[in-house]
């Protein structure tokens, strides 16, 4: 796990830099009166929903796989 984070570190740094850069580049466009956070939260929910669906799908596939193994 530690190794994994170390490997992904440049990616993480780049991600944080990209977020802060886009926030500063937009200047006047991002401010709390604009309520952009509500849009970001909604997109986050959509992504979480899709990923939760993937987890559900994975669980069902695992079940079928294990049953297949038992049959053989």
């Amino acid at each position: 796990m530690k190794n994994l984070i170390a490997k992904k570190e440049p990616l993480l740094v780049f991600g944080l830099w990209a977020i802060s850069y886009s926030a500063s580049a937009q200047g006047d466009h991002i401010d709390s009166s604009g309520k952009l956070y509500a849009v970001v939260a909604c997109v986050a929910i959509i992504i979480v929903g899709i990923v939760l669906f993937l987890f559900y799908l994975e669980r069902r596939i695992t079940r079928v796989e294990s049953q297949n193994q038992l049959d053989k």
């Binding site: 604009g34 952009l36 509500a38 849009v39 959509i46 799908l57």
Partner: protein, 357 residues
């Protein structure tokens, strides 16, 4: 028909549309607008001075900003002194002409209009309450507003909504996609009830399951949007309560399916239940909220998404968004369906081997 779900082109299309919706949905800027003023009322015949805060503007000193106070459709008065304070603030001052308010005068406030060649119009309706009397019988001024018809790749600025108008693509479109999935589910449930083929039941249940996921996302995104605009996560709005009931009905569908072990009984019962659920959902979501008043646009009479509710630039992303979420839902449903078919084959194979023993 079933070959369709193994094809790849529409999955690539889904990805393309989603990318378009997410990128354009975030990067297209809002039109500039007026946020608030330092004054709330204005008196006829007296000098005034107030500061207007604007959104998404970049005023520079020397900008030719025109400011108007609109009384009614024919009487628009130009504010003589407009001074740029900084990128987002203008100072407006002058002496408002005076006229008698007649008994039949309906207008009790003035609309503030700002105009600039670069940005077009910025409008704040009911900006200033009008009071005081004296002078001429009728408004003595009449101004012609400049023509500005250039179309811009920008979303409309709406007070209260601000940037959250983008949630049209992340909330409204999700619901639309859910309805499409539910219609498909309904059609296959009816098909099942007519022909008793387990494949139809597998299609119907897969689509209903994904529709429930979409519905849950619709509720959560709506709740967040409500917090940012109406000030609360949940209110007693009929559309909210009715869609919550509709979602419960479909949640019960999933529970019903999970609680029956016999394949045929499950298919028959849930098929019939699905038809009932869809018929129950129509008045809950589409009819009752329109009969009462609702915070949702288009309720309390006129249908939503018509006429002035949806701006052209929004449409350019909103319609692809519906297609994108629908296709993504079809994709997710098709995966569930394929898995279900594997499971069914497995179950029947087990039954056969039991029989042979």
């Amino acid at each position: 028909m079933y070959r369709f779900i193994y094809q790849r082109w529409w999955k690539v299309l889904t990805l393309g549309l989603l990318l378009y919706v997410f990128i354009a949905g975030f990067l297209v800027p809002l039109r500039p607008g007026i946020v608030d003023l330092t004054a709330s009322k204005i008196q006829r015949g007296l000098p005034f001075e107030f500061v207007a805060s604007t959104y998404n503007t970049s005023w520079q000193s020397g900008d030719q900003v025109l400011a108007y106070l609109k009384y009614d459709s024919t009487h628009v008065w130009r504010i003589p002194d407009v001074e740029v304070l900084d990128r987002r603030h203008l100072s407006l001052s002058g002496v408002l002409p005076s006229w008698q308010s007649s008994a039949e005068e309906h207008v009790s406030d003035l609309t503030l209009i700002l105009y600039h060649d670069r940005d077009g119009y910025l409008i704040l309706p009911s900006a200033l309450a009008l009071y005081g009397d004296g002078g001429a019988d009728r408004p003595v001024f009449e101004s012609v507003l400049p023509q500005y018809q250039e179309w811009q790749w920008r979303f409309p600025f709406r007070a209260i909504l601000y940037e959250t108008i983008r949630n049209t693509f992340f909330h409204v479109a999700i619901w639309m996609a859910m309805f499409v999935l539910l219609v498909v589910s309904l059609i296959y449930s009816i098909k099942y009830l007519m022909r008793r083929d387990a494949v139809y039941d597998a299609v119907a249940s897969s689509f209903a399951h994904v529709a429930v996921v979409w519905g849950a996302m619709g509720m959560l995104t709506g709740s967040i949007w409500a917090r940012a605009t109406w000030g609360t996560y949940w209110t007693n709005d009929p559309k909210l309560n009715m869609s919550a009931i509709a979602m419960m009905i479909y949640l019960a569908y999933s529970i019903l399916r999970a609680s029956i072990n016999d394949e045929d009984r499950r298919a028959q019962l849930s098929g019939a239940y699905n038809v009932f659920a869809f018929i129950a959902m129509i008045p809950l979501i589409f009819i009752i909220p329109r009969l009462t008043s609702s915070l949702h646009p288009g309720n309390g009479g006129n249908p939503a998404l018509g006429g002035e509710d949806l701006d052209h630039t929004l449409r350019l992303i909103f319609y692809p968004a519906i297609v994108a979420y629908t296709l993504l839902g079809v994709w997710m449903s098709s995966l569930l369906f394929r898995l279900r078919m594997v499971e069914i084959k497995h179950i029947y194979a087990q039954l056969r081997s039991k029989k042979s023993k």
